[in-house]
């Protein structure tokens, strides 16, 4: 692997995820998140070269709604800026690419969206093919259930196993002050929650939640000044699959598998099991199992610890969920995951996804040490 620039995550801030913030618009929630992330690094907005934000106008209900965020991002004097209709973890990738190209040394990666103001299920239905999928009323819960069903049929995974995975996330989420669902729940309790879309129970899917997030990235030379424990990016790759659900093997995530293979090669990581902590954008226990299969992780092992934050099951703000995974991995390695520390964590994997049934996946490998000398 050719040596690349050492680039680190040096700051992360989010507001606690809530069902609905009655007092603030999306941009008014974003402003304090950006201020906190910059304050964490001890820098001002002028110290940041590049800014990028992730959100979706369909959730905002406003065409070009994303431009409103510019007013709370410190966009003056005139800045280099980019907006993606993608999760923050993909925005971070674009910032990383710009930094690898040598066009900037520091970047602010924001994400925002008031999911409670619209109806996410209606919006996610429109993400599907309009003729055969959207028209029959499929939404994110039903496509996730199709995927769960496919996985269970291929592997013999039981309802009980899904309940156990959900319970592990819920137990972890109780220790995360930024989580939306903070009440722990046992597998027995979750296995008795009603079917939402069989084989998914209401206890296996997250509620609608909203927040705002901001990551700060910096290249070697500046990263050490911004953060006493920068978390270095060792490898990253993202891959996507077809839109047509019927054309895919929904019981597997081929795109996660390939992205992981490429990211691990960049990171010189032999296997996923060698890291200490993994944060997955798994919105259901079945997604977690599919992702673990794709990454080559043993879901029964003690290490790495999977979703010590509680994962998306305890808070799934669309467009921010993946960025939070990256932020949580940063917090673990930087010693900032108060109350939910994975002791001795030195390497981690963060994953984010977009689209129905894990269509598009990004895999990050990060570590406490610089990747390239």
């Amino acid at each position: 692997m050719t040596a690349l620039r050492n680039i680190a995550i040096v700051g992360f801030a989010q507001l606690p995820i809530v069902a609905r913030d009655e007092h603030r618009m999306a941009t008014e929630m974003l402003y304090p998140a950006i201020r906190r992330a910059l304050a964490d690094c001890g820098v001002e907005r002028d110290d940041i070269d590049y800014q990028i934000a992730g959100s979706t106008d369909y959730m905002d209900g406003r065409p070009f709604g994303f431009v409103a965020a510019l007013d709370v991002m410190g966009s003056w004097p005139a800045r280099q800026d980019l907006h993606l209709e993608m999760d923050a973890a993909f925005c971070a990738y674009y910032a990383w690419v710009r930094m690898q190209a040598g066009e900037c040394d520091t970047a602010l990666v924001a994400a925002h969206g008031k999911l409670s103001e619209g109806e996410p299920n209606r919006v996610l239905n429109l993400q599907l093919d309009p003729y055969y999928h959207a028209a029959i009323g499929l939404d994110a819960a039903s496509t996730a259930a199709l995927q769960a069903s496919a996985y269970m049929a291929r592997t013999g995974t039981t309802d009980r196993r899904l309940a156990e995975i959900a319970a592990r996330n819920r137990t972890a989420g109780a220790r995360n002050s930024d989580a939306q669902v903070r009440a722990p729940a046992s597998a027995d309790e979750l296995q008795h929650t009603p079917w939402l879309v069989e084989p998914l129970r209401s206890g296996y899917v997250p509620p609608v939640g909203e927040t705002a997030t901001c990551l700060i990235l910096a290249a070697e030379g500046k990263a050490e000044k911004f953060c006493d424990r920068p978390v270095w990016i060792h490898g990253v790759d993202h891959r996507t699959e077809m839109q047509t659900l019927g054309a895919r093997d929904l019981s597997r995530s081929a795109s996660t598998q390939l992205a992981a293979q490429k990211a691990f090669a960049m990171a010189d990581l032999a296997r996923a099991g060698d890291v200490d902590v993994v944060e997955l954008s798994a919105a259901t226990p079945a997604e977690e199992l599919i992702l673990c299969d794709a990454l080559g992780l043993d879901t029964h092992a003690d290490r790495p610890v999977i979703n010590p934050s509680g994962g998306p099951l305890c808070g799934n703000p669309i467009m921010m969920t993946g960025g939070i995974r990256l932020g949580e991995t940063f917090r673990q390695l930087a010693g900032r995951a108060v109350g939910r520390e994975v002791h001795g964590a030195a390497r981690g994997i963060a994953h984010a996804t977009q689209g129905h049934c894990l269509q598009h996946n990004i895999v990050w490998v990060v570590g406490s040490e610089r990747r390239w000398s």
Partner: protein, 166 residues
Amino acid sequence: MSEPPKDPVKYVDSAVYLPYNYVAGDYKARYLAALKDKRIIGSKCSKTAKVFVPPLVCSPESFAPCDTFVDVADRGVVTTFCIVNIPVIGRDLEIPYVAASVALDGAAISIFALIQECKPADVRMGMRVEAVWKPDGERQGDHEDIQYFRPTGEPDAPQASYINRL
């Protein structure tokens, strides 16, 4: 397959229904509530002391928080304007009409407003104008509470007084 189908193709009806339920936000809510009392409020930048109307949580220019609310006048100066000769969707306005930027006294930026009670040709940059409110009891706490602005008859403001608030 070389010829298009002769029978009519039945299209998929994909009418999109997306309801939204917005939060005004405390800043906007406070601004709108003040309109009901014939008051216009802005927020002051903690770094530059510039006042933004309607109030903003932070200065888009300095990035500093705007954490104090201040009253501004319901009168000001026309900075820039245009004469509209096309009907506007959703409003019953006689054309031509004047849409203007009005910098209220005490505000660092201008708001958009209609100028009425004068001929469009008489509107000019620097012209002093005042708000015409809906009568007491009819104001709802929304933007329609100010019906329009009209000339005050005062002498025009010197250009230097508004050139930075265009």
